[in-house]
Symmetry: C2
Subunit: 339 residues, 2 copies
DNA sequence: CTGAAAGCGCTTACAG
DNA sequence: CTGAAAGCGCTTACAG
């Protein structure tokens, strides 16, 4: 193990000067810098991150807390964020959380044990933040939810306009002639700014504006954001409302599950039942029929989140909130209802 | 920020004794332990991980290096491994790598900067290990590849028996009556113990044993492990060999892509073309038709890898190599060829 | 521009 | 069983 002391000894300078070179401080002679850099290269020296972090009370790079790992949407988002962080050569570490764990509890642990400069939360829910984010002091970004109404000075948030996107998706069903539309997925009982709630609200709003009755108790079925969830929810909904001709699923995975259920009941998509999803996963464009869905702008979310974090860490920018545009993907899962 | 000094002061013991309590060392009186634990709880004290790691020359938990993130199979495997590690309350950190990066280079950085106790590699290729793993000293596990022939003392490996599994998958096509079978995916030029090579070898072997001609140059088309890769490869293969009646895809994602291509050409699956995949992703059982595929035993891989790592770290067990059983999932994507 | 020295929060022989 | 003290590898005022 070669340390800063070795570099100092070999180069003939002190550890202090070596440290200054390592950290690109000014006030080092060109001569010293060159000599020390040469030794560093020669010895293939790598600083000990722990020692560095221990010393710098302010420290430790950016942490990303991901809630729910077997989630293709979050995986893609994470990939984009990591890629952008790497381009800015910011140190990043990732931690995955169970759906059952509180992201805020995990963040607390993290803050105490490794003093991150900032935390990016993927897949967190505003409810948890509302309840227990108060003590947090470092810059945080909540991606995929809207925290603007929570009023925390150090919490930014970026998301798709869930309400508008859901509204648009459902409007496409309405345009195709559907009058009996079911909605599946999420848990609307949570908080008004959770994205489930917003998607459901947007969808219901579109129906209402078209003069279509939407009965939350009857035409909506909650479920987890998984294929199996979609399968089960679709079964319940179709049993309860056999007159439904189209389904809006709160995520693509839920849509896939519901489509499998329809097939198991001998229904054809879209001629017997239209389906529209939400997320725009790659899978949706390879399945048959291709799923019509709202694509969230993953690059945009990643870019905004990373830029915001970087500016806040390095320039004390204020937290901000924003949405990214969505795009409707015209698949093959919507047709006019049978007469 | 509350430190071990504070705990010592408040409890009336020395920092040494507090440290012993924290690390569950013997030789602490019950009285002292109880008193100190009470203070720790009261103060909600969390040790500073950096200081701890700095001090313990041997340190830093277990690292997981994942190559390729948008890979549902690896994501599930990672999830299982993290879950098991957590149960053993081992500290774990995860790092994702581009397909283009060398996992060994990343491991080298890691070793120097954070001294992990061990590294688990997901999705690494034996080729890279053969070339440059030599300098590594800590226990490592390569999951999803067979490193037994590499002969490194500190490298375990666990994998599905790719050759046998592929052979079995193809045997199902043969049983259904197929005589002209195409294979897509992977890059066979790499190394003899890469899993692409093994899957292709197993598949070709099954065909040969059935007395069926398999022409590698004609009946095989390489491609990346992605849906788009499968789409493109299937296009080339079907153009070149219009007489093929069944395809073995080296992964489920590749299979999905190929199926989309077939649909785009107006083919029905399985009546016009049978398809069999490899991995057993959840998606495969929700799509239509359900994909017939070989399911890798993700729990088994995770369990073996974690147990091996733990035993080697804590009891200096020797490295080992093993395979987990596979299971054929009887989907709906295989039928007899048309006459 | 550079060096000597203190100290980040912890662990661990070494005494007792 | 417990405490005093050294030291892990680094950074950063403080002098000069």
């Amino acid at each position: 193990m070669i340390t800063i002391k070795d570099i100092a000894r070999i180069s003939g300078y002190s550890t202090g000067t070596v440290s200054r070179v390592l950290n690109n401080k000014a006030d080092v002679s060109e001569e010293a810098r060159a000599a020390i850099e040469a030794v560093i290269r020669d010895q293939n020296y790598q600083p000990n991150a722990n020692a560095k972090k221990l010393r710098q009370t302010t420290q430790s790079g950016i942490h990303i807390l991901v809630r729910g790992m077997n989630n293709s949407f979050l995986a893609s988002l994470l990939e984009e964020i990591l890629f952008r962080m790497r381009e800015h050569s910011e140190g990043v570490s990732v931690q995955f959380l169970d759906e059952t764990e509180s992201e805020i509890d995990a963040a607390r642990q993290l803050c105490i044990s490794s003093r991150p400069k900032g935390i990016i939360f993927l897949g967190g829910s505003t409810g948890t933040f509302r309840e227990s984010f108060g003590w947090m002091e470092i810059p945080c970004v909540l991606v995929t939810a809207d925290a603007s109404s929570l009023g925390y000075r150090n919490l930014s948030s970026f998301t798709t306009d869930d309400s508008a996107a859901a509204s648009y998706a459902v409007s496409r069903l309405i345009e195709a002639g559907h009058r009996r539309v079911g909605i599946i997925g999420g848990y609307p009982v949570m908080y008004p700014d959770d994205n489930s709630t917003k998607r459901i609200g947007g969808a219901a709003g579109a129906l209402e504006r078209a003069g279509i009755q939407f009965d939350m108790d009857k035409d909506y079925e909650p479920c987890p954001f998984s294929m199996q969830g979609g399968y089960d929810a679709a079964a319940k909904l179709l049993d309860r409302c056999p007159d439904i001709t189209a389904i809006f699923a709160l995520s693509d995975a839920i849509a896939y599950g519901s489509m499998r259920l329809m097939r198991d009941r001998g229904m054809d998509i879209p001629s017997d039942m239209s389906v529209v999803g939400f997320d725009g996963l790659d899978y949706s464009q390879f399945m048959s029929p291709r799923l019509s869905t709202v694509r969230q702008d993953i690059s945009g979310l990643a870019a905004k989140s990373v830029d915001d974090m970087l500016l806040r860490i390095n320039y004390q920018r204020a937290a901000s909130h924003g949405t990214v545009p969505f795009k409707f993907i015209d698949g093959e899962s919507i047709s006019s209802p049978k007469l």
